[in-house]
Amino acid sequence: MRRARHLQVAVLAAVLTVSMAGCGKDKKNSGSGKKVSLKAGSTMEKLNKAGKVTVGVKFDQPGFGQKDPSSGKVAGFDVEIAKIIAGEMGIPEKSIEFVESVSANREPFITEGKVDMVVATYTINDKRKALISFAGPYYVAGQDIMVKKGNPKAIKAVADLNGKKVCSVEGSTSEKNVKAKAPQATVTLFKTYTECAEDLRNDKVDAVSTDNVILIGLIDKAKDDFELVGDKFTDEPYGIGVKKDDTDFRNFVNDVLEKIYKDGRWKKAYTDTVGKFVKEAPEPPAVVRY
């Protein structure tokens, strides 16, 4: 038996080696050697010539950008989008350098040229537009509702929160949104969402409501306990940050987004990542070319 297993492993290893060698050859073809027509003098052309790109992503956001501590790889929807854009510039996956960009250093990383683009749950707003430019949106996040697995209180939409106990964080916009959209809800306030999750687990509240991205992070830690309702009642469009007024690059990224909306690659990237947490059908948002 043991010998047989050894043999299996050996065969598997051999097959993998061969197929990986094959991959390498493919990469070379589709890599810098691939004919991608990029506007002369543009950021895309420069990156293509350099053969590598640096992308700012989150390392701690399940579903979007999360670093696996054992393999050191980052995975998520943002990461997939970055890989596709790099691919369209003729840059293979292994030549992408992912850099952790926490919320506070996203703008400085772009303006100082530490990264070529930022794909990091990055909400498009006017304050940020003054410093950098946004392509996209490629995803619209928003406030959603988390309930116990199996949804015992049958909460399907924000209106169902009326008459229910809902947990949120003190002083947050989430708290205000719940009070505005479900005035008859009893809102319980804690300091952190982890505490809200614990109250939900102990049946002290019926639901937790805040940005779906935060809820996805909570569900990721307790997949057997919680689920997302999937009724977004606010809009947080996520864009791809590039250097301010780099119109060529921005247009290029927007073109890529529109292309992958049509050819199904956006949908696949979504269902492989965020889609695992949210049941709703993926719907790509319209690109805004401001």
């Binding site: 003190e170 002083g171 708290e175 205000k176 319980t188 306030l189 804690f190 300091k191 505490e195 614990e198 109250d199 102990n202 049946d203 002290k204």
Partner: protein
Amino acid sequence: MNAVFDHLGDYANGWFTTIQLAVLSFLFAMAIGLLIAAMRVSPFQPARVVGTAYVDVFRNSPLPVLTLLFWFGLPKLDIGISRFITAMIVLSLYTGAFLGETIRSGINSVAVGQSEAARSIGLTFTQNLRLVILPQALRTVVQPIGNIWIALVKNTAVASFIAVPELIYRTSQINTAESQPVPILIGAAVGYLLLTLPSGAVLSAIERRVAIKR
């Protein structure tokens, strides 16, 4: 300033919850304190050990930790109690440890001869404590107990950590609505002063009345 006056009703709601929490917790804490003090001066060694352990645990644990631990921990043991009751239990247990030590120091201040005399006329340990020692001991620790009461009134603020709608919780809500932290927090401070300043006066009066004329 309108931010404060528009919300007097919210402040009042929170204030009454704070008073209830403080008064109920103090009554239970006093019972715990007397018991613990009695255990710590008891001739029965296991009682002394348990009393000491109790004081060590509750006097040395941060109040927010105890509060969150009880609120999130008790449901794991299938004990379902309300936010208010949880806060009251935690505050009673915590304050009880301090009261226990304070009362014990009062007991130790009573001259040894008192206890010897009580024993020589045949009083048991409990009779001795109840009839001879404690009436003298408590008189000497009126101010320290008052300090603990005032600390307790302000400590009730930890109940906001588990969303008990007391004064601080209401204050944060008012602040969320109005975004004017300075006047709104001053409003909360006034709320606590309305409780603690009269307490100070009452305590001095009590102390004067019960003082042992030496």
